[in-house]
């Protein structure tokens, strides 16, 4: 089996328009959540979110591109450009033929859907723009990345709700590890912060109206975010041969299904995914220093996740750190695991653990070191990233410092 390393990272999210800005904000415990700015916001019961602000897409993309790029595709391309530039890779010949893109995404072109439903249902028009379908399809972001960077190998999009990014990155990891592809571009993207997107989430009554406070006894729900994270997964010898800078090694993953409930998480399903990732990576639980939690800030997730971690790690659960960066960048749904992987890379490379901000009071059912409110310096060798999706689909990744 090949070893897999990360040689490029890119992002755009509510904390920053690139990786340095995002990591800087995480180190400072900055909150990207604020009042939503969108049409008809006054008709929403939930009026906060972690929106990408100061984003002038017309200065980044031309008219023809904007006609084809929904906001989730724009985010993905911006993140991919940063990741590819860092990696220094260019794709031609055999490398191009074998390398591809696996992106996570849940909602597809929600902005496009929302705008065009308005056009036909609310405005009563009988004509929509001819590019609605290629703009809203879930695979649009992956396809445009493949086109912009000449990636002609396996490319597709993975949709598993809030675990989409982790499932996508697990798939890309597997392709490089097996020798199927020398390089895979992977991550996730989402732009669900539109009237219809927020309205749909309101219905479940799990959204907070004021803040995302994971693991705090005062938490009252999740807050939606938007953005993308994209990474270059590369076969280690390939990266070393060209003298690439290596950000971290991806060492294992596991995926499980609860097979029980469409929305309620399962302690067993989560435990099996965490334990499976350790086993696949071939590491002892004592080696894990940090976990980037799924940590949505809902009562159901946080209790279940903490008890699953306690199950798997036993006494070592008291020694490791687990934070939820959703408190800062919100829940990016299908893009969330990708942005959260940045916190894992920061922990391994910079020795800085991103905090769980908004933490007010301990919850006895979440009695782990959740790195409350302030980032912490710590040297960690192995980290995990958890994602537990609606539908009971779980995916956990394991990374190691290089």
């Amino acid at each position: 089996m090949k070893r897999v390393v990360i040689t490029g990272a890119g992002t755009i999210n509510a904390l920053g328009h690139d990786v340095p800005e995002t990591l800087g904000a995480m180190k400072e415990g900055h909150c990207g959540i604020g009042p939503l700015e969108m049409r008809d916001v006054e008709r929403l019961a939930v009026q906060i979110g972690a929106q990408v602000s100061d984003f002038a897409s017309d200065t980044i993309f031309n008219r023809q591109q904007l006609a084809l790029y929904d906001r989730f595709t724009q985010f993905a391309l911006i993140a991919a450009r940063e990741a590819l530039a860092q990696s220094g890779l260019e794709f031609s010949g055999a490398l191009s033929a074998k390398s591809g893109v696996v992106m996570g995404n849940s909602g597809g072109g929600m902005q496009t859907l929302d705008e065009n439903y308005r056009t036909v249902y609310e405005d009563g028009k009988n004509r929509v723009h001819p590019f609605v379908v290629p703009k809203l399809m879930n695979n649009a972001a992956a396809s445009h990345i493949s086109m912009e960077f000449n990636l002609k190998g396996p490319s597709f999009t993975v949709a598993s709700a809030c675990a989409s990014s982790n499932h996508a990155m697990a798939q890309a990891f597997q392709m490089v590890r097996s020798g199927m592809a020398p390089v895979m571009i992977t991550g996730g993207t989402e732009s669900m912060l539109c009237f219809g997107g927020v309205k749909a989430w309101e219905g479940l009554r799990v959204m907070s109206k004021d803040a995302c406070r994971p693991f705090s006894s005062t938490r009252n729900g999740m807050v939606q975010g938007e953005g993308a994270g994209v990474f270059v997964f590369e076969e280690m010898d390939h990266a070393k041969a060209r003298g690439a800078e290596i950000l971290a090694e991806v060492i294992g993953f596991a995926m499980t299904s609860d097979a029980s409930d469409i929305v309620m998480p399962s302690r067993q399903g989560a435990s099996r995914a965490i334990a499976g990732a350790l086993q696949d990576a071939g590491v002892n639980r004592e080696e894990v220093g940090y976990i980037n939690a799924h940590g949505t800030g809902t009562a159901a997730n946080d209790k279940t996740e903490c008890s699953a971690v306690a199950d798997v790690f036993g006494p070592h659960a008291d020694n490791l750190m687990m934070s939820s960066t959703k408190s800062m960048h919100g829940h990016l749904i299908g893009g969330t695991g990708a942005v959260e992987l940045l916190a894992c890379i920061m922990a391994l490379r910079d020795g800085v653990i991103a905090p769980t901000i908004g933490y007010e009071e301990p919850d006895p059912e979440c009695a782990l070191d959740v790195v409350p409110n302030e980032a912490r310096e710590a040297s960690v060798d192995v980290v995990l990233s958890n994602a537990f999706a609606f539908g009971g689909l779980n995916a956990v990744l394991a990374l190691r410092r290089v």
Binding site: G203, L204, R205, V206, G221, I262, T298
Partner: protein, 87 residues
Amino acid sequence: MSVKDRVIAIVAEQAVLEPSDVTLENTLEDLGIDSLGLVESIFAIEEEFDISIPFNANEPEKSDFDISSVASIIAGIEKLVVSAPTE
């Protein structure tokens, strides 16, 4: 139909029971209504009475709307129906 009968009809439908099998003392748990069934019941009640029920599934105990029994739900709705703003 009274508020009581309308609420019982909604709860009974959610629980797949006859209205006569639902008593005021029943909790939703007694009736086999889970968390997803609860938010669906609240939605149905909001639609039926054209009211907005302040209920967050993350902190049910903090809500002004008491869901501990069929009787408390009816009492909560009666209060909301009286104070409902006319749009």
